[in-house]
Amino acid sequence: GQQVMQIPQYQHVQEGEDFTTYCNSSTTLSNIQWYKQRPGGHPVFLIQLVKSGEVKKQKRLTFQFGEAKKNSSLHITATQTTDVGTYFCAGLLSGGYNKLIFGAGTRLAVHP
C-alpha cells in the first residue's frame, strides 16, 4: 500500500542547534503537507508544498519538496524550546484520492 516513511523517530537537541526531519514516499505525491502536534494537542497545519523542487520558508523553518515529488524535508534553524512537539509530514496521493497519508512523525525535544 501507499506509505510515507519519516525519519528520525525522535531527535533530542540543545537549544540553538539545528533540526531536520525527512519524509520519503513510495509513490509520487500530489502535494505534501507538514503539521506540528504538541503533546496532548491536535495537529496544526504548518505548510503545503505543491510544485516539484519547491522550497518555502517560515521564519526559522525551511520546507523542501523533492524534484520527483516523493520526498520532503523540514529544517529548523537554531531551535528554541517552543519548537518542542512532533512534526508530521502528510502526503496527498496523486490521482485525486484526497487522502492524506501521514508519516510516523518526528518527536523533537529541545533542552535549554
Binding site: 500530489s30 502535494n31 503537507q33 503539521y35 502536534q37 494537542g41 491536535h42 495537529p43 496544526v44 497545519f45 503545503q48 512532533t86 508530521f88 502528510a90 496527498l92 484520492y97 484526497n98 487522502k99 492524506l100 497519508i101 501521514f102 510516523a104 512523525g105 518527536r107
Partner: protein, 113 residues
C-alpha cells in the same frame, strides 16, 4: 464556526459497548476526514466524506465501524462492540477542497476497559 468541534473530549467504554463520536466541520468545508491516533503517535486514516457522501473508506474496519455525515447534523463515527485495541484518540479534520490544508479538531480520547 471557524474550528472543527469534536465531542466528547473523553469517552470510556467497557469492552463490547458501543461508542459514538461527533464532529462538526468548519462551515463551508466540503471534506471531512477521520483519523485514529494510537499510542505510538501514528495516524491511521479511517474514512473521508465529500459533503454527505463517503469518498474513501479504505481504512475502516467495516464490521464494527460506521460513519455518517448528514446534512445539517454533525458527522459521526460509531464503533459497535468496542475492543481494547480501539483505545486511541480519534481526530476529525475538515478541508475546503480535499487537497488543501486540513483543520483538525481537538480529538476524542476513547478508552476501552
Amino acid at each position: 464556526g471557524e474550528e472543527v468541534a469534536q465531542t466528547p473530549k473523553h469517552l470510556v467504554r467497557g469492552e463490547g459497548q458501543k461508542a459514538k463520536l461527533y464532529c462538526a466541520p468548519i462551515k463551508g468545508h466540503s471534506y471531512v476526514f477521520w483519523y485514529q491516533q494510537v499510542l505510538k503517535n501514528e495516524f491511521k486514516f479511517l474514512i473521508s466524506f465529500q459533503n454527505e457522501n463517503v469518498f474513501d473508506e479504505t481504512g475502516m474496519p467495516k464490521e464494527r465501524f460506521s460513519a455518517k455525515c448528514l446534512p445539517n447534523s454533525p458527522c459521526s463515527l460509531e464503533i459497535q462492540a468496542t475492543k481494547l485495541e480501539d483505545s486511541a484518540v480519534y481526530f476529525c479534520a475538515s478541508s475546503q477542497s480535499g487537497n488543501t490544508e486540513a483543520f483538525f479538531g481537538q480529538g476524542t480520547r476513547l478508552t476501552v476497559v
